[in-house]
Amino acid sequence: MLIGAVLGTAVGVLPGLGSAMAVALLLPVTFVLDPTAALIMFVGIYFGGLFGDSISGILMNTPGNSTAIASAFEGHRMALDGRAAQALATAAIGAFIGGMIATVLVVFFAPAMAAAATRFGPAEFFALAVFAFVAISSVVSDSAIRGLAGLAIGLTLALIGIDQPTGTSRFTFGSPALLDGISIVVITVALLALGEVFAQASRTGHPDNNRLIATGGRPWLSGKEFRAALPAWLRGTAYGLPFGVIPAGGAEVPTFLAYGTERRLDRRRPEPTFGKGSIQGVAGPEAAGNATAGTAMGALLALGLPTSATAAVLLAAFQQYGLQPGPLLLERSGEIVWALLASFFLAMTALLILNMPFAPLWAKLLKVPRSYLYAGIAVFACFGVYAAGASVTDLVIMLGIGLLGLAMRLYDVPLAPVLIAVILGPLAEYSLRDAMGNSGNDPLVLVSSPITVVLYLLLLAGLIWSMWRRRVERSARTA
């Protein structure tokens, strides 16, 4: 787990590498580890990666992941102001507080959530999958049509292979290698890792204006700073908690909400600090990000519902071990779940201890030449895909999907909907067919239970809210 935390931070620090990619790259490697150890390592990587993303955001203004963008605004200004170490400390403590509170809540509510979820039938699972699809592709993404494009690609990838209920082979080009479908490992590694390598190559020769800022000064917060940041940490956590459970693509929305709140509050103070490197501007978003990550793990474990790209990759990791996260996981493999939850606490404590004093050391990793870094990632990606199936077909598929990943990056099509669609696509299809089969093709069965009705209503509310938000943003821009 400690190794995971260290590794996760290391990967997260490196620009352009988020925690989703860290987990994806290590996915094949863990075939040889036992499930509990591997999953605990992933947790370390997950939280470590989140923090690493913020380190590069604060020091270089290149957030490693979209979730670290919000804390990079003020964090980078603090760094420019010679307070880089304090900014990092604020981020580390914020991550710790947000993650801790979220995990405590998960520990208390996961069994209840799982118990509620055992009443889920095919109709409910279908509603859940539809909810996740629509939410991830249209509520979160900047442009609904681009999100849907990602969704369509993912759903298609999920269709390839043998149709479980009937045994019909679908879209296999008559190739026996495709009968089992395309492995989720191949898809995630190709999209997240190889696609990023190609995207980096496409930027070769462009000026790189991101400069690393040296860290100096004390890595500790004074009492005054701590008191200034504490309410912001707590407010950020409050934003982050509910968003972890909603399949809304991760922590972008809550981190920006937290950032916006801190900025509004700051304007009312006698001496506004925003724009000059505000400690609250780092504390709020950072706590929100980790609180989301914490409850997202809860949703993943108890409902089997991945609410962000990283959670989707983690779900794939579970499936590799034959574990299906969801209501039954607590009953069938309870010991793993509790070991995992315990490791959350350990991971966050370890990260706090590791990162408060050593953040400047991590920053040294940013000096690794970009070319070696991505060359190494390419080698590791190819290794992982080959090791997973020992098949050259997989490597060819990886190349194809990697190119797709490049096109998606160049033209702003989000990747998260693809991953969610690949993972939840089969669930959606089979539960719809089950529901129809059980009811003699009566479409009303899909809205026959309170849970489904609530899910669809929530979805509708989310759609209306996102349309409203987009309109407000547009008018703010033109005004």
Binding site: T166, L192, R203
Partner: protein, 188 residues
């Protein structure tokens, strides 16, 4: 997901939707259209196992996805073309559609040559792996990717690549028992 912020920074009003999208952006709707056509053909020619699967048989989902892919492809094409026409009308000679408000790296035409080299590197790896073995093909892959990213120090990257490939070989093949092709080195 790393380089393209999905929610624009609240204070920076840049990547506005009104800006022209490059013509290359059409590759996404084209891909989707190809996917849609492929799904339709594949579904029509599907060799269904078992009869009387009803409407909700193995063909149901492919039809839905095909419909989604095709309609998104059409909408996106219109979206891209319209954004180009609008911005061409909005900004005459002064700036031209090429000058778009960039993101942090500044938006420039992608370096296709570098991408081609990187892709060639991966293709070479796939072709070479069964014959040359892991050690040689992985080292080569490392050197080629480093080259595509602008590294001209081939000797150093050769050593770094060989070191990485060897470490992976030793740790995963030697200690953990994963099988990597040895190639002709193995028969020496």
């Amino acid at each position: 997901m790393s380089q393209t912020p999905q929610s624009p920074p609240p204070e920076a009003g840049d990547p506005a939707p009104g800006n022209a999208q490059p013509l290359g952006a059409l590759i996404i709707p084209l891909t989707l259209a190809a996917i849609g056509v492929y799904l339709v053909v594949g579904t029509l020619t599907m060799d269904e196992v078992g009869d009387d699967n009803g409407i909700f048989g193995p063909r149901m989902m492919p039809w839905l996805v095909a419909a989604l892919a095709l309609s998104v492809a059409i909408t996106m094409t219109i979206d891209v073309l319209r954004s180009r026409r609008r911005s061409a009308a909005a900004q005459p000679a002064a700036s031209g559609p090429a000058e778009r408000s960039g993101e942090q790296t500044g938006e420039q035409a992608p370096n296709w040559r570098a991408v081609a080299i990187a892709v060639a590197g991966v293709v070479a790896f796939i072709v070479l792996l069964p014959f040359a073995g892991w050690l040689i093909s992985a080292t080569l892959l490392f050197v080629v990717i480093a080259m595509s990213l602008g590294n001209r120090n081939h000797a150093t990257s050769l050593i770094a690549g060989l070191a990485l490939a060897s470490v992976i070989q030793i740790v995963f093949s030697g200690f953990l028992g994963l099988n990597l092709p040895a190639g002709f080195i193995g028969s020496l």
